[in-house]
């Protein structure tokens, strides 16, 4: 499974302190959504994309493919917001029938454009964080935010188990496909269901084995993970603060 994590491990910005990256991403997200201004969204989108592409060294094509992931939701959701249905039209009529009109208001298009840009801008800010910070480091940031230890341990373990199970699932799927298990819809449903059930059984057995392994290594209800120390340079903090300042200035000065 090709996840965003792979790109994060390969990113050139991996050496930067994860807390700083998380703070920049969250600050930018809040400014971008809170401001809800066209030019703020555009600035966020352009700067964050530039950071991802040049700072992180991700190729343009891969980045575009990542931006396309929520496209289905974005298009459907925005269509639902823009299109109005009523018995009397108030804007540009697209269709009418059954005594009702489907229409778009004059402001609808502008609202939609602003919303789409805001969402993509916010998405790029989130990508800046997740494309440069492996999940284990993000969990480390959550730990610093005083998320309960139980949740942090669960997250660390789930993160590891996801890859173990994905691999098992891949092998099972390969075996099923080679035996015509996904030949038609009915067979596919049956194969999918039984292989998912089997996956669960296998993983529960594994869970037992992992517990034994942990107990053998003196697990007494607390898991400790080593996290790399990554220092913050003064110029990085300055850059982050001035970036926020620029966004705020755009919000105030540009209508």
């Amino acid at each position: 499974m090709e996840t965003i994590d792979h790109y994060a491990y390969a990113s050139r910005m991996r050496g930067i302190n994860p807390q700083l990256k998380a703070a920049v991403a969250m600050g930018t997200l809040i400014l971008c959504i809170g401001a809800d201004r066209f030019w703020v969204s555009v600035t966020v989108l352009l700067t964050m994309s530039a950071v991802i592409l040049w700072g992180g060294g991700l190729t343009f094509l891969k980045y575009i493919n990542l931006l396309k992931i929520p496209l289905g939701f974005l298009i459907l959701g925005t269509v639902a917001i823009v299109i109005e249905i009523s018995s009397r039209p108030f804007g540009y009529v697209l269709f009418h029938g059954f005594g009702h009109y489907v229409w778009v208001s004059k402001e609808g298009g502008v609202t939609a454009l602003k919303l789409v840009l805001k969402a993509i801008g916010a998405l790029s800010a989130m990508y800046m964080l997740v494309l440069s910070t492996p999940a284990s480091e993000i969990i480390g940031v959550l730990k610093d935010l005083r998320v309960p230890k139980l949740i942090i341990e669960l997250m660390h373990m789930i993160y590891r188990f996801i890859f173990v199970m994905t691999d098992t699932q891949r092998l099972m799927k390969q075996a099923a496909v080679s035996r015509l298990g996904y030949q038609d819809f009915k067979t596919s449903c049956r194969t999918f269901g039984s292989s998912a059930g089997n996956l669960f059984v296998v993983s529960l057995k594994r869970a037992g084995t992992y517990y034994d392994a942990m107990t053998a290594r003196c697990y007494d209800g607390e898991l400790l993970f080593l996290s790399e120390e990554k220092g913050v340079r003064p110029w990085q903090v300055m850059a982050a603060l001035s970036y926020f300042l620029i966004l705020i200035l755009i919000y105030i000065l540009v209508p």
Binding site: F73, L94, G121, I162, T166, G193, G197, N198, L204
Partner: protein, 249 residues
């Protein structure tokens, strides 16, 4: 608007509708940045009591049986993997399960809240489904509202002596549909319609997402029933270890 402009708009709408349905139909995770700040905070706050209840219930389970830790973690990973798999579909578009109904039936609604929010965080940071600011809203619809309905329906059907597989099917399907309704209402509250208010807007969202979500709910119901059937045939002892046994029989 001239006649030409009108026809362009019509074409654009048709294109948007056709194009919107073809890409992978995910279980309606609200994307990053789509909700205004106050709604992000409000939905997050609404989740807190449910998550606290789940946290204490997990803590209690762990006090009694420490081995449950790895089982819980495996279950979380299982829900993640199941929801990241392409499921068989009739139309050829690629869609995914939510796995929430299954989780609710297997682990109970309170534990699923905590597992659900963790799975949603990983879906956001590993697969870019959903987002960080919309985490609260997504958690409420997918990890709290859906599972609670699934669990309630499952219990109700079992109480009424409905066939077990039928109960599982109904629970998973209706839980999925409920998640879809809750998400539509969440979107409608944030973006009320100019003429009809929140109600009209909710109907628009329900209508737009229906072509992807209705078949998905039915398929999710079928698959969940098949999974539970497999588990009952091959893994009754394991099911007992996670507390499913109370409902078996």
């Amino acid at each position: 608007m001239s006649k030409k402009e009108k026809s362009i708009m019509k074409l654009a709408t048709a294109f948007a509708l056709a194009f919107g349905i073809v890409p992978s139909a995910f279980a309606m995770h609200i994307m990053e940045g789509y909700l205004p700040v106050k709604y992000c905070i409000a939905w997050g706050a609404i989740c807190v009591p449910f998550l606290a209840a789940g946290f204490f219930s997990i803590k209690k389970t762990l006090r009694e049986n420490r081995k449950a830790m790895t089982i819980l973690a495996m279950s979380g990973a299982f829900v993640f993997v199941i929801s990241s798999l392409k499921i068989p579909s009739v139309t050829g578009s690629c869609s995914h399960m939510t796995g929430t109904g299954l989780g609710a039936i297997l682990f109970g609604p309170s534990a699923v809240g905590i597992l659900g929010i963790i799975v949603l965080i990983f879906q956001a940071i590993l697969l870019a489904h959903g987002g960080l600011t919309t985490l609260g809203a997504n958690t409420f619809s997918m990890a709290i509202a859906g599972p609670f309905v699934s669990f309630g329906i499952y219990k109700l059907c079992r109480g009424l002596k409905v066939n077990k597989l039928v109960s599982v099917f109904l629970a998973a399907m209706l839980g999925d549909l409920f998640t879809y309704c809750v998400t539509s209402i969440q979107l409608a509250l944030a973006y009320p319609s100019e003429v009809g208010g929140v109600g009209a807007s909710a109907i628009k969202f329900l209508g737009v997402f229906a072509p992807t979500q209705l078949p998905l709910a039915i398929i999710e119901g079928i698959l969940t029933a098949v999974i539970v059937m497999t588990l009952e045939t091959y893994a009754l002892p394991e099911l007992k270890s996670i507390g499913f046994s109370k409902e078996v029989g």
